[in-house]
Symmetry: D2
Subunit: 333 residues, 4 copies
């Protein structure tokens, strides 16, 4: 059960509500986000919600039978949109397009890619600076310096930045340079990181775990929301199966189901979703048709020389064609 | 290595070719289909193909490094199209739309559905009469009587019929009433059935196994082709994974990869691919965008009363909307 | 619900039972096996079983809530044992050891292996003559001639034979030479084959499908039992997962669960279960400790020259050591 | 390639080695652990190792073709043993037995369980104080207070403690109370945590990821080792598959393969590996037979009242029987 409270609720009114909930044996979590003030109530009893609904300070009250609550679509009449400023909005009808290299490599590389994004009217740049790599001996990214490099060139053109954060201790230094924090597939259930991202006022995109269930992804989002951050995006990036012909099995089914179960925007990552460059564009378009609120893909001026993920990265010509086709499909939808 | 022979090759010329292949330690399979005359040669040596290419009776010769040969795209310059007669063609640019109930249940049911197909200009009817069911106590289909019922009503309207065959001994009695034999997911590696279907001149659609790899699907098609039947369709219908939110994980990646690896048409089955009625239409459209040559889906006049698969079956209104949207997407592509 | 009938039940008594069941809206399947006479009743109503229990001709009556009925452990007080004659018994405390080559290749090969089995007191020989192979160009077995070859050498020593049957039409010719029919993983849901095996009086071992669930395996067994054949063995042989370090993921959990859910004996196949020769022996022993009623493994006089599966086949020395260790573990248990 | 250096290698000798490696285009990582001094060299060239082997300061040199190096069995002649003090040793012939509750709940609970461990001569207690839970509203453990509670009662009896650490920032405060840090399945690829655990001198047990490959597990161990900590244990705890009859699919194959590929001890976790109480003991014994160097399982005085994982937790009687049977199997092996 979700109780929405009035923002300026009086302490004594809150106490009455809490006492009533206690009487009915609810376990209560207080949640105060950028926008609202909630009580999340977990209980076994089936209580008449009017008992609480009429109390002072209660704005609204909703039953939610899912095991996740705040991210559920069951209580929100309208889908969430995440506003990044400068008219860049994702969700509830607004499509978001994010493109960029797997890893930030150099100023020159960033400059070329920013030029490509401007030319194709792509408003959000992706680019990894903290890279989770299976082997400790692989290139692990340029770190905060890479992020600053990215920011310096994106900022003048109002291009927004999405990049992965790997642990809570990195958030503070990254804060000033990032528009969307990305939680990677391997950290999808790193609950300390999720808790920490719940305490900031900055959008977060959570990738589905390597073999994460849809339910787990929604619960990971619930972690962040319940700590106070409503600005959330979900990302389908393929799951691990027995098939070895491609990198991951893109779960196109998940797009419709996530959008049905939750009010949060859903982004598709076709680059990781199939992992083979020539198949990325059609997969991006199919994802849009399936209902994705946005696409994130990898592009590089010279994919064959990229320090990571070159095999799934588009070159500028392929990216330009894709960006145009995305516009065509959006027009049709 | 595939050697295409002239159809009227002389016995002595063939013998010379076979002797040459034996000298180079090839294991040879003779394949005579509706259209061509081939020798499939498996060997470890790397032979200069000109040694064979110049022999009398050889029409053409191709190296194919895949473990499947005849279904590989590596030797055919043009994609296969399967012609069902009456201008119903699938593949190489021709889209095929197949719809109908999970199971044939009664004359009345067939009549209503045929009416729906005619109204929406759908040229191929699906409908199960031999039903593979997990439990021996479940409804197992009307059998050959069901097929005759279907045929009687489809024939006058030139509606083509696709239905599942479960074992070799059923082929003969079904032959006169079927336009496409379907091999179901559970029989995808029933090699005796595949062998038998290779010996007839009638199109066959092979569904991917429940956890069949792309490679296994292509090898199953190779079974049929290598016994003499080139009229083949492949079908992606979802695979088994850990996710439990839906019936199967529709592997949209497989569509592009199958079309790249093979010259055969690829059909998408969104009904089984997600298993939940409300999500079928978007999945069908996304499959088309990903490159599918056709769609097969389940429709019933009263899905909630269907004897099987009702939860994934569209009603007539949903089906009509889908059929129209498929036309819109086809126009765009 | 399972009703056990007296074998010599009078027609009029049976009719009364059937009428009563119809009144309570049960769907009834009559099952007559080698040993018993059953009615399997599927219904939604919750009927007091005493209503039927007191009728003439009823021997016993059992509620079974599983979706499979006859193979369920819920109605049988004692585990099934399958008696192959000559004191070779499997199940309910009797361990069965089966060994032999992947494929029967020649008289000489059979002779050597039979010698090895005699020496090590192994009573059941495995050996494939109909081989399901992913590629149509691979060695597909010696067929019925291979089976006769095997039989000729096993018979004089009372060594029992288990071999795979691939389609219903093979059963008749194989019947005289086989002691246990094996249903392979790829045919685990080939329901026509299962039906046909239900109509004979000969033990059948059903392998779990490549990605078959435990529930599906039990339902496949139910197919055979419900057609009249109670002499059944289940076989765990590994499932398909994302891991690529070995051939299959041996599901040791399945052994305990199958033995708990069903009264049928459970055989472990460590050769396919891991697919790498050096790891087979310990996996065999671990399976025994987990509760397997028997082990089936591959052995060959020269594994490196075997026509199939050589990489997972033990040589005679390894096999001898394993056979001895199996005795030690059995003594401990 | 791994170069073992003399501990007191002179700076100028090291420089010569590094220069030589640079000439041959190796990328070099310096690793200094509790015990040794290594250079890990990644390169594409195939260099004659004698060129480096004869240089001053080089103790030994080994080619390792695996993508992980230090944890590979290819360079170590003897398996690793981890010594916890007080004669508690795991690996290379020493079996380790760890038991305790899923979560530490209260002093009284700890006291009862410690009593049980003493009685059964179990030297290592498990017990979670930081609990990764899918839902943010579930019980998340007592935190550092729980750990102190555990330590206070274990210390006097020389019972060692293993507990999960969830993020780098927790290490310092936990350090004094822990004998083995556990990295949980969800954090198996949390590379910042692994890096941090590489910088301390305390044993670490890494659980395989929920759908982690064997290769990924070994690379995660390589992260820790390459930062300086050699005291490592690997843990198989079941993987995620399509089967839903139990919690996880215990991958018994992984035990043999991990022991073959790596010199590190391998611990089996049958409690999570099957997730159902009654099946845990046999799975534990089977794991030992398959070669596990130790077992970790869950035990509680009242499993049915446990705050977490009660369904897979043994009671004292079951645990006592298991501990005795483990001794019997160990004697046999």
């Amino acid at each position: 059960m979700i109780i929405q409270l009035h923002k300026n609720i009086k302490a004594e009114d809150l106490q009455i509500i809490l006492n009533t909930l206690e009487t009915h044996k609810y376990s209560v979590t207080k949640v105060k986000t950028q926008f609202e003030n909630y009580l999340i109530c977990i209980g076994k009893q089936d209580v008449d919600i009017r008992i609480i609904g009429h109390l002072n300070g209660v704005k609204d009250i909703h039953r939610v039978s899912d095991n996740y609550k705040l991210v559920s679509s069951k209580w929100k009449t309208e889908n969430t949109k995440v506003d990044l400023g400068d008219d860049v909005v994702i969700g509830n009808g607004y499509h978001g397009l994010m493109a960029g290299p797997c890893s930030i490599e150099s100023e020159e590389q960033v400059s070329k890619i920013v030029g490509h994004l401007i030319k194709n009217d792509i408003k959000i740049m992706r680019g990894g600076v903290y890279k989770p790599r299976s082997s400790p001996y692989a290139f692990r990214g340029l770190g905060i310096e890479g992020l600053k490099m990215m920011h310096e060139q994106c900022k003048p053109h109002n291009i927004k930045i999405i990049t992965e954060v790997m642990q809570a201790s990195q958030i503070k230094e990254m804060m000033g340079y990032v528009d969307i924090f990305q939680v990677g597939a391997r950290n999808s259930q790193n609950y300390n990181l999720l808790d920490a991202l719940g305490e900031i006022d900055k959008p977060v995109m959570i990738k589905r775990g390597i073999s994460g269930t849809i339910d787990e992804l929604l619960n990971s989002a619930e972690y962040i929301f319940s700590k106070g951050n409503e600005k959330l995006l979900l990302c389908e990036r393929g799951i691990r199966t027995f098939e070895t012909m491609y990198r991951n099995t893109f779960d196109i089914n998940a797009i419709q189901i996530l959008k049905d179960k939750s009010h949060l925007p859903v982004i598709a990552d076709p680059s990781h979703g199939i992992g083979i460059r020539e198949y990325v564009p059609k997969l991006a378009l199919a994802s849009l048709v399936a209902g994705a609120d946005g696409i994130i893909y990898e592009v590089h001026d010279k994919p064959e020389e990229a320090l990571s993920d070159g095999q799934q990265t588009l070159n500028f010509i392929e990216s330009e064609t894709l960006a145009k086709n995305i516009q065509r499909i959006k027009a049709l939808l």
